[in-house]
């Protein structure tokens, strides 16, 4: 049996988060809301979460995501940085995002 090395991914400013293959963000016409579909659960991200998830495309680094969201919300990067990284760490731990 091949033993994979499995360790917890930890978010950094260089991480380029991307939604896991088994996770899908799609618009639900019936409820007129964005839904995040995962193996056992459906999540209903709020507006801020949605803006972060949309930038999880494997091309933007966490630093870039924070800068873009800072512009979007007219907020200080230092202020939102921790919120963004803790969100991404939590969603990585839930197997929704690859860091």
């Amino acid at each position: 049996m091949t033993q994979e090395t499995r360790v917890r991914a930890i978010v950094s400013m260089q991480s380029q988060p991307v939604l896991k293959r088994h996770v899908r963000l799609q618009y639900d016409k019936v409820r007129e809301a964005w839904a995040l579909l995962s193996p056992e659960r459906v999540f209903w991200p709020n507006e801020v979460s949605l803006d972060i998830l949309r930038l999880c495309d494997g091309r933007h680094s966490v630093a870039q995501i924070i800068a873009l969201l800072g512009d979007l919300y007219g907020a200080d990067e230092a202020e939102i940085g921790e919120d963004v990284t803790s969100f991404l760490q939590e969603w990585s731990d839930k197997f929704l995002v690859t860091l």
Partner: protein, 377 residues
């Protein structure tokens, strides 16, 4: 106050009752349907279309063993076309070469593979199927090779509870993202075999500790979901997230039910898809409306602050133990019958019917007549 009925999110499709395994805790009803009662491909496709229209976002393709349906790729494709998330729940025994690839090509999102034991001998004994364990290992490898995400499902009971640490290692070694350790729910075949399956309290407490420690240790490495055992609980589970609230199931013949054991409530009548549209069943079926919301509740649920947390618990368990589907689930400490749960644990442990012998099980079989009365002592 009557709240508006919201659209369903999830659907469990039991495509067939046929299965190569004979697990004594199967959640299927004890009266299993033969292949000639199964809904045909066009019926399922039409049902899936209506489900997507109604707002269903996730479909769990189950059985029996769903891969025994030769039209499974077509069924998966019909859901994938509509953006519905598909989860295949399989025993992983006897899946022909190339089929897992075909499921993936059809758009399957996720596979949940069951293991009856973490050791080959246990898997064989519980499922009554020789070589099953090795076949499952092979299925897991094939799933990973096509890149599909994998959940390992381990139903636990007296005969395999000590294998919980090994289940965790097994799931890790197979590359699973998620492990579901589920205490057997005593409905269907499990109710029939309750005395042979019920664990001792000390064993339950031990495995809860092991699972909690593993969840902490493996944070971000593998998700471990844990389905707690009702008989040892203080509060009931919000069964199905509340009766007819956001999910339902469909039997192989197209009968639409609020949960997989609802057929044990003999006072209810269930409609078949085709006779009624799915939307009509969801909104108008008397069975769906019987325990929807909170209006039907009696005391102690009626005045309980937890009524919208656990929705009265499981109606089928209330039926099985209290003899009244509208009663509070006896798993709840507020139920006047809560002590009966403890008594049933003791009774099971005391009888222990030739514990280590597989003869103690009534194995699941189609057409097997049921001789045991689960309510008798």
């Amino acid at each position: 106050m009557t709240e508006p009925v919201l659209p369903p999110i999830g659907m469990l499709a039991e495509l067939t009752h046929r299965c190569p395994l004979q697990c004594a805790y199967c959640s299927n009803p004890v009266e299993l349907l033969k292949a000639n009662r199964e809904m045909e491909t066009s019926g399922w496709v039409s049902l899936f279309e209506q489900a997507a229209d109604l707002g269903v976002l996730q479909v769990h393709l189950s059985g029996g063993e769903p891969t025994l349906r030769s039209d499974l790729p077509e069924l998966i494709a019909s859901l994938a076309r509509r953006g519905v998330y598909t989860n295949l729940i399989t025993a992983g025994v006897g899946i022909a070469d190339g089929r897992i690839e075909a499921f993936a090509d059809a758009g399957l999102d996720h596979i949940q593979l069951s293991f009856q034991g973490a050791r080959p001998a246990t898997t064989e004994k519980i499922g009554n199927s020789r070589g099953a364990h090795e076949k499952k290992l092979e299925t897991a490898r094939r799933v990973r090779n096509v890149g599909l995400p994998l959940t390992i499902n381990a139903p636990i009971h007296r005969h395999n509870m000590e294998e919980v640490p090994e289940f965790i290692e097994l799931a890790l070694s197979l590359g699973a993202e998620r492990l579901e350790i589920a205490n057997v729910q005593y409905a269907g075949w499990a109710l029939l075999n309750r005395n042979a399956l019920m664990p001792e309290r000390e064993a339950v407490e031990r495995q809860v500790e092991i699972v909690e420690a593993a969840q902490e240790r493996l944070r971000g490495v593998m998700t471990i979901d844990f389905v707690t055992p009702d008989y040892f609980a203080i509060y009931p589970k919000p069964c199905m997230g509340g009766w007819a609230r956001d999910a339902f199931m469909v039997a192989p013949d197209g009968t639409v039910l609020p949960c997989h054991a609802a057929g044990t409530i003999k006072s209810l009548h269930f409609e078949r898809f085709g006779d009624w549209s799915l939307a009509r069943i969801w909104h108008e079926s008397s069975a769906f409306n019987a325990f929807r919301g909170t209006d039907w509740m009696l005391e102690p649920c009626r005045s309980c602050e937890r009524q919208e947390i656990d929705w009265g618990g499981c109606r089928c368990q209330a039926m099985a133990i209290a003899g009244d589907a509208a009663a509070t689930d006896p798993a709840c400490i507020k139920s006047p019958l809560h002590a009966r749960m403890g008594a049933l644990i003791k009774e099971a442990v005391n009888t222990k019917m030739a514990d280590e012998s597989s003869n103690a099980f009534t194995y699941r079989r189609i057409g097997r007549s049921v001789e045991l009365d689960p309510t008798s002592a």
